[in-house]
Symmetry: C2
Subunit: 311 residues, 2 copies
């Protein structure tokens, strides 16, 4: 078995930027894009976004289009891309071992850029109605015929929740946003946009207790956590936008992570607790989480790996 | 005088990304692009680059074109851009004060993204022949008629030196690269490209002692620091590619800097020693120094400023 200099796991802006830089440094990187790894298509979370307006250099571009450009560029630079999911790594000795399907590759460096995945709530009915009205990605699923001209519900109070609610107004008869607190955590621009949208109703201090329906979801049972009032509201769609879980379980704690599972990097670098293993993008960032910060950190990971291989 | 929420100083990828994010957060940022500040046109060091192949999302784009896109995007998002150079700041009390020409603006936050400028050597003849054959930017000046089909000399051993030497072969009869040590510090891909270029001759262990000529530069006096041998070599152009100086002198040590003048940020953030003052891009980064890492850090600075203003 030949040993690769650099194996990259992931397929978002961090992974692709690491691949571009590693390939240009003639490190012949092998990148595992994953097959719906973490529940997201190759390309990462941006593939579940419509318009991106804040990636510098593009005034407006769709998430999937931006990711296709990065993928094309990574391959053009000489990176080898494999649409396979890594299910295990052995970082206990060198070279490191990376496992997928029934195959294995050895690597001098591993760059982890597996991102983070949308959280679920685990309320009654969730399992029954998942993908039968329930989703964690309005942008992926919102355009389905199932949701056209129907009342839809979004849960969350951050940027994602506001973005998803706004997006769904394109299809829904009405969107109800359930916010657990009495304020939104979203950025001001998104707050304003959401509050000013006539098709969005915000229910403050409100939680979802149960998903109800027949074959498909028809209602959400909600509770006002201030007044205690409970009721059913009509909902042909229920979309979670309540945060993310970093995709680090395949690492089996071989790399130091924080209490929520995010990889700990030495701040200002891509170094992890294991020498020769680097992390970039959302899997190690719960503060900024932007495409451009992920891309920047992907570059850092590749340059750190290049330096590691020289030393 | 009204107080601006955010003033951004600089005009490279870091400054523009900070402007895009701050504008989208409705912080109404004012950005000082500088008039040849640090000796570089508005747009920063990328304006002195021809093809950029490693900015994710663009397989190939010219530096100036990429910067024009970012500028256009920053304005589109609502940033106010002023092509003026800040010559002084007062960070001793709040609001901070920012000075240019004979004018002043107050600011709750200041984001410093003034970059770094190419170094000079100060050898005899440098002052006389500067811009009469001598330059610190091959890519800006290399295409001048002065240099067509003439022997040219580049000084340096890093990526920039290799890139500039390679670029100059388009115009020169021959390019001599003077490397002080017996190896290149450049990335492998650039080393190979340089060594394999028939029009480039590398002189190892060699230093330039003097620039000579009449009205224009004609020769460089060089010395082999191993053998002690000295001689004149023909050179109608002499290009420095020997590193950079961060553009921090206007801060008059009001922000903590390292011994070489780079602003010290708390790693993994854009925070400086002064609360409410943030730094991003090459002015605080002597390790990665890429357009994409600068852009990522500009986003961080804007998000840190937004958080600072909320707290």
């Amino acid at each position: 078995m030949t040993t690769r200099k650099v194996v990259i796991i992931g397929s978002g802006p961090a992974a692709h930027t690491a691949a571009i830089y590693a390939a240009r440094a003639e490190l012949n990187p092998l990148m595992f894009e994953g097959e719906m790894a973490g529940g997201v298509a190759a390309g990462g979370q941006l593939t579940t976004t419509t318009e991106v307006e804040n990636f510098p250099g593009y005034k407006e571009i769709s998430g999937p289009e931006l990711m296709m450009k990065m993928r094309d560029q990574a391959e053009h630079c000489g990176a080898e891309l494999l649409m396979k999911t890594v299910h295990k790594v052995d970082l206990s000795k060198k070279p490191f071992m990376v496992y997928w399907d029934k195959e294995t590759v050895a690597a001098d460096c591993v760059i982890i850029a597996t991102g983070a995945t949308a959280k679920r709530m685990g309320i009654p009915g969730e399992e029954k109605y998942w993908q039968k009205g329930m989703s964690a990605c309005a942008v992926c699923d919102g355009a389905l015929p199932l949701f056209r001209n129907k009342p839809l519900v979004v849960i969350g109070g951050g940027d994602s929740a506001c973005e998803e609610a706004t997006f769904l107004t394109k299809f829904a008869s009405k969107v109800v946003l359930l916010v657990r607190r009495d304020e939104l955590r979203a950025s001001k621009v998104m707050q304003e946009r959401t509050k000013n949208n006539d098709k969005i109703e915000i229910l403050w201090n409100t939680e979802a207790l149960e998903a109800k329906g027949e074959n498909l979801l028809t209602h959400v049972h909600i509770k006002n956590n201030k007044t205690g009032e409970e009721k059913d509201i009509e909902a042909n769609g229920l979309f979670y936008a309540i945060g993310h879980t970093p995709n680090t379980s395949f690492l089996e704690k071989q790399v130091e992570c924080d209490e929520t599972g995010y990889i700990i990097t030495t701040p200002g670098t891509a170094n992890t607790s294991v020498s020769g293993v680097f992390a970039c993008g959302d899997v190690q960032d719960k503060r900024y989480r932007q495409a451009i910060t992920a891309a920047g950190s992907g570059c850092m990971a590749a340059l750190d790996a290049e330096q590691f291989l020289v030393d």
